[in-house]
Symmetry: C2
Subunit: 323 residues, 2 copies
């Protein structure tokens, strides 16, 4: 091990890109940014016992540490390029690092992301990842920019990860949680959808803290309110099967978090264009409501009858989190 | 506190730059990179109990978390631009965050670094910082590129931080360690020197793990050896006073680490140019030896008599660290 440090193990899986002039191995990496593009930068940390439970497979931690960051780039409409990893480990566990790196690399390779910086330190298990991507100047999606009257959309389905967590903490056998658990452990960042929505979405955010919580951020930044049809929130067959009670299921979808789907607004006139753009990248999407003037958020059922807002709107950040 | 999260407290001190199109507050930051420049990226983590002791002032932790990263940019000859901070805290301690942010901002403001990404999570105290800077295409300094016969140089003085740590762990009163302690807690990244050395230094590295350990990295990447005159290693008046024993002092200078000085090579013919360039940025520098062919590192005293190499060459990384 003395001649083959943990960082060297990670470096084996770093990948390469033509814009990376110098990768891991010097004091810093050197990147040639493409012309006409803005850089898009985000950082997120996963801590054992807070963001994932003890016993989650190292490969899933590696995958998710990158996925939650790529999801931030997706929400900006960015194309990912490079990542830097700060991995803190309680001991010199090369098997853990190999599995972590394999999970990280599986997702990185899918999206041609090169790992250009790595730092391994001793301490309680945590992984902090910084990602950088590119977006043509002026075409980034942001949380601001929505207009009253815009449709409100959601990619994919909501509630699976929260459902897996609920089942898992209730002690149910893994057998039942399989498909849901995969959404919790290995979320799929909606990168193709984010890029497809450039020029179409007026505002966008990824759902990490829970639909209502993240929608709240979008509304605050856009200075608007929303009318949401709760029964229109998309649910997977696995969620429908595991949670037949509609009230419990709705709670998971509204406040559960860890979905890593995109929540975005688009003009009513672009409804068909949105549909086509997302079809082209094989991303399902549902219209779930409308943006309205004023700072109010209202929930309705399928009969347009008002529903109470849940007391708890989403995962309560210990200390807030951004970018 | 509910309406004013920890990340908002940090955001107050984020600073601004014309190349930052969108800072903290969305899913990611947007940067307009300057034309003709390469991007320089590095990440480093400080963990309580590993990189700093319990009881170090929060402002010093904030300063140092940025400083160790800026030192990596200095070693590349880069000009810093933006930073992203992932801060992990055991509890919701707003006073800690305010002091941490003040220390971070004091250094960031000095070098016009904007904080464009922040993530605060709960967990054992740690700060992971990613920095991005710029360097004109093709002019970055790297660890490779030195030639046999080149002079070996060191900026500033060595051993102060290691001396402070030695005195502190031995239980000496703070009074004696003051000036040394400041080097340990608030290191000065040699950014001006790094930029001044563009086109002059043939290879460069910052001294974080200890002079011999980091020189070893430079030699390995350049495929060379070195003859070093141990008595030429620069010592501060504070170190000379606190450690009158030359053998102990030399040990601190050779292997102590946490110096954040630059160790670089330059052609003999550029000796005066190096001197002038560093004088212009008020950075003292000393010639401490020469690079030689072959993979050997030899130490000499002032009379050119060979000295034994210390058994321990520097801070032994738990798991390796790079970029």
């Amino acid at each position: 091990m003395a001649e083959f440090s943990l960082i060297d193990r990670i470096r084996q899986r770093a990948g390469s890109r033509p814009d990376v002039a110098l990768g891991i191995g010097d004091d810093a990496a050197l990147i040639d940014p493409p012309k006409g593009q803005q850089l898009v930068l985000a950082v997120d940390t996963l801590v054992e016992g807070v963001h994932f439970a003890r016993g989650v497979p190292p490969s899933a931690i590696g995958w998710k540490a990158l996925a939650v960051n790529l999801s931030d780039l997706a929400a900006m409409g960015a194309e990912p390029a490079v990542a830097l990893l700060a991995l803190t480990l309680p001991d010199d566990d090369s098997a853990f690092v190999d599995e972590f790196a394999a999970g990280f690399a599986a997702l990185a390779d899918t999206h041609r992301v090169a790992l250009v910086g790595g730092d391994t330190t001793r301490g309680p298990l945590a992984a902090s990842v910084t990602v950088m991507g590119y977006v043509p100047k002026g075409s980034a999606l942001t949380r601001a920019g929505a207009s009253a009257g815009d449709d409100l959309w959601i990619t994919g389905t909501l509630g699976d990860a929260a459902g897996a967590l609920a089942l898992w903490t209730s002690g149910l056998p893994m057998l039942r949680t399989g498909r849901l658990r995969d959404r919790l452990d290995r979320p799929t960042p909606r990168l193709g959808a984010g890029i497809a929505l450039r020029g179409l979405a007026t505002a966008c955010i990824d759902i990490s803290d829970g639909f209502l919580a993240d929608l709240g951020h979008l509304l605050a930044m856009s200075g608007l309110g929303a009318d949401v049809e709760a029964d229109a929130l998309p649910a997977s067959p696995a969620l429908l099967e595991a949670f037949p009670d509609p009230l419990l299921r709705r709670e998971l979808q509204l406040t559960g978090g860890d979905d890593y789907e995109l929540c975005f607004s688009a003009p009513v006139a672009r409804r068909e264009a949105v549909r086509k753009a997302l079809d082209a990248v094989a991303t399902p999407a549902s219209r779930v409501g409308s943006l309205v003037a004023g700072a109010r958020l209202r929930l309705f059922d399928a009969d347009r009858l008002p529903l109470p807002l849940p007391a708890r709107r989403g995962y309560v950040h210990f200390a807030g989190s951004d970018a």
